[in-house]
């Protein structure tokens, strides 16, 4: 019989993470790539919360706050970089920005 237990949260987290990861690798648009990163981060958050409730440990939720803060910082820096790149180039394509190629 179909039961709705905590493992479904984990499955959802894994699916979201995979979508994010595949999107990051496949898409060229930096904004979309950025959103994929956010998706991955939140998938991880979901997993943390799920485990937290599963194990009755409040630590899982604590970590989420850290991730949120770091993600916020990352958004600030990342968007700034993207805006800077967008200003210099008409088209937004992450592959054009490969100056670090060896």
């Amino acid at each position: 019989m179909f039961t709705f237990d905590d493992s479904w949260y984990l499955v959802l987290g894994a699916i979201l993470f995979s979508i994010g990861a595949v999107g990051l690798v496949v898409r060229r648009n930096p904004l979309v790539m950025f959103m994929c990163v956010e998706l991955m981060l939140n998938a991880v958050n979901l997993t943390f919360v799920a485990f937290g409730s599963l194990l009755g440990d409040v630590g899982g939720q604590t970590v989420v706050f850290f991730v949120l803060v770091v993600a916020a910082a990352e958004v600030v820096v990342g968007l700034a970089i993207i805006v800077a790149i967008m200003r210099r180039r008409a088209e937004a394509n992450a592959d054009d920005v490969s100056l670090l190629r060896g």
Binding site: A21, L24, V25, M33, S98, L100, G102
Partner: protein, 658 residues
């Protein structure tokens, strides 16, 4: 009276004064000042000598420690002066002859733009030489030893714009350094053997030294002496050293510095006493050097080169005496030689001066008409060096030859070698006198420089075989040149030296024990006396040597004055090249020597540094190889991260399930 310090201090003061203000004092003030310093030093030597003579025999030693120079643990080197019979005798003749040559140089160097610099060096030289003989330990002697070497270097390359002069200076210093190798090792060996380097302590401890150690020490110091005193195999620098101004040749390269090897071995006579076969080696090296150098002198055309080879040869005589443990003979000859060789060099300088700095004897001739005083004084020098009694050279040379006669193995052979060298000496000196002062014609009127038969050794002017000239002035000896006698300031020293060369034999006449003044004076400082043969044998030996000398003179007369024998038959190229010894060295140094040095430098650059650069290059290549992974595409990095994460998870899972 502790005036010993004044002896070297006066020339040092002169040196400092001239170094500071020489240019302002100028010409001839600087020369006068320098001469006064040396004269003062001579006076101080006399004063100390008188003090010393007042002491009873056997305790004539005054030491004066000025300060402790190198106080390292048990290796205490004092800056101490030792005035004894030997060192004071040396001081007297260094300052005496030195003062005369200083005065002479005032005339000779007149007008040279570097007049003051010349006398600065000259005073420094005298100071170093005095420290060499006065030092109470080996290291202080080494200070003087190196000091005179440095001054010699500076003075040989005095006219430095001529590459040959500069090269000759460097050659002298480096060759002497090879000898210094022996000096330093000898000093070290003395120190680890006796625990001291003070002469007085060495003298006290020497009688107990083992023969093997003594031989090693003697050989090492003999190596040092072959450098400074221009013996085989290191004599090659001395002929080149004639590139220096003539007063330098007279002072440093004839009278004083080159005798320091003889002095050193005499100082160490207590060790030589026990040195066994090292003494025979010394005697034989001396004899062979005397012979070879005398042979080389026969075929030289440069008047200074003749005298240079003659000096090498005469020093050889002194080493025969050292090796025969006839130290008094060596010292006696050192003194007489200083007188007559300085005289001959200064005379040659006067000739060169009056002949517009031409040194080739083939362009002289008949000069006695123009230069009567020079001729007269050099005539005495000629008699002295040729060994004609009663002039000084005869007595000292005869003492050496007589002393060698009874040396253990093959002393008679030594004596024969000495006689032949003496005969050759008489020959080449007569040749020099005839070519310069007599001969048929005034050659410079008829023979211009380019008409001279080419002697090959003059054209090679490579690094190791420099034939530097006394002067940097261009030679313009024209056919209408009229030689004029040198000024009085130059002739004065000549006359004094001629007088000394004539009578110096009185120092040590062989006839009666009471006449052995030198013998009695230095005896307390010396160990070991060779036995002289009995009186009859001595007479025979002396007569033989007189006959030999006369024979040499007569033969030279036939060849060069009467032209009975073609001179080219005597002046073989091999002699003109001094037996090709220097050439051989030059070839080795310039050939395999330089090649191996260059090879090592290339090795350093290519292999040692190459390895370092190789490591750097390999790192770079490794970096190049993996840089392709760094695509610059974020997604490929993300893909890599993903793969890595999966791999890690897999690894963990597999580990856990095992």
């Amino acid at each position: 009276m502790e005036l010993i310090w004044l002896i070297p201090a006066l020339p040092v003061a002169g040196f400092l004064l001239l170094a500071a203000a020489g240019r302002r004092i100028g010409d001839p003030g600087a020369g006068v000042l320098a001469s006064l310093a040396v004269v003062g030093s001579f006076a101080a030597s006399v004063a100390v000598l008188l003090t010393l003579a007042g002491e009873p025999e056997g305790s004539r030693q005054i030491t004066q420690t000025l300060w402790t120079w190198i106080p390292a643990d048990s290796f205490q080197v004092s800056f101490g002066l030792l005035a004894d019979e030997l060192s004071l005798m040396m001081c007297l003749f260094i300052t005496g002859v030195g003062a005369l040559i200083h005065v002479y140089a005032i005339g000779y160097m007149r007008g040279d733009p570097e007049f003051a610099r010349f006398f600065t060096y000259l005073n420094l030289f005298i100071a170093s030489m005095l420290l060499l003989v006065l030092g109470d330990n080996l290291i202080l002697t080494f200070l003087g030893w190196e000091g005179v070497g440095a001054c010699s270097y500076l003075l040989i390359s005095f006219w430095f714009t001529e590459p040959a002069n500069a090269s000759a200076g460097k050659k002298a210093f480096v060759t002497n350094r090879i000898g210094d190798f022996g000096f330093m090792l000898g000093t070290f060996l003395v120190f680890v053997t006796f625990g001291t380097i003070d002469y007085l302590q060495i003298d006290a401890a020497a009688p107990g030294v083992s023969s093997g150690t003594a031989t090693a020490i003697a050989l090492l110091f003999f190596l040092a002496a072959t450098g400074k005193s221009a013996q085989l195999p290191l004599f090659v620098w001395l002929p080149d050293a004639m590139a220096g101004p003539t007063p330098v040749s007279a002072l440093i390269h004839a009278a004083t510095m080159v005798t320091s090897g003889v002095f050193l071995l005499t100082r160490l006579s207590p060790i030589l006493e026990a040195a066994g076969w090292a003494n025979d080696l010394i005697a034989w090296v001396g004899a062979i050097t005397a012979l070879l150098a005398a042979g080389a002198a026969v075929a030289q055309n440069d008047i200074k080169k003749v005298l240079a080879y003659s000096t090498v040869s005469q020093l050889g005589f002194m080493f025969i005496a050292i090796g025969s443990q006839n130290y008094v003979g060596a010292l006696f000859h050192m003194i007489t030689h200083a007188f007559f060789k300085a005289l001959l060099f200064l005379g040659a300088g006067a000739v060169i001066y009056s002949m517009s700095h031409e040194q080739d004897m083939r362009r002289y001739g008949q000069l006695r008409k123009y230069l009567p005083v020079t001729f007269a004084t050099m005539f005495i020098g000629w008699l002295a060096i040729s060994g004609i009694p009663p002039f000084s050279g005869f007595w000292s040379k005869d003492e050496i030859l007589a002393g060698s006669f009874e040396v253990r193995p093959a002393g008679q052979l030594l004596w024969v070698a000495g006689i032949i060298a003496a005969l050759l000496t008489a020959f080449y000196m007569t040749r020099l006198m005839i070519m310069t002062f007599a001969g048929g014609t005034e050659q410079w009127r008829t023979r211009s420089e380019d008409l001279l038969p080419e002697v090959p050794h003059d054209v090679e002017a490579d690094d190791a075989h420099a034939s530097g000239h006394d002067d940097h002035h261009a030679h313009h000896l024209t056919p209408d040149h009229t030689p004029r006698e040198a000024p009085a300031v130059m002739l004065g020293p000549l006359v004094v030296l001629a007088a000394l060369a004539a009578v110096a034999g009185l120092l040590n006449l062989p006839f009666a024990d009471s006449l052995h003044f030198l013998d009695h004076w230095v005896e307390p400082t010396l160990e070991g006396q060779s036995g002289l043969p009995d009186a009859l044998v001595q007479w025979v030996l002396a007569l033989t040597s007189i006959v030999g000398a006369c024979l040499g003179v007569w033969f030279a007369w036939r060849v060069y004055q009467q032209h009975r024998v073609d001179r080219t038959r005597i002046e073989q190229p091999v002699l003109a090249h001094a037996w090709h010894i220097d050439d051989a060295y030059a070839r080795v140094v310039a050939g395999p020597g330089e090649a191996s040095f260059q090879g090592l430098a290339d090795f350093d650059h290519d292999v040692v540094d190459g390895a370092v650069r190789g490591v750097g290059g390999a790192t770079q290549q490794a970096g190049d190889a993996v840089r392709g992974l760094q695509t610059g595409f974020v997604r490929s990095y993300a893909f890599g991260i993903g793969l890595g994460a999966v791999a890690l998870v897999l690894f963990a899972v597999v580990r856990m399930s095992l």
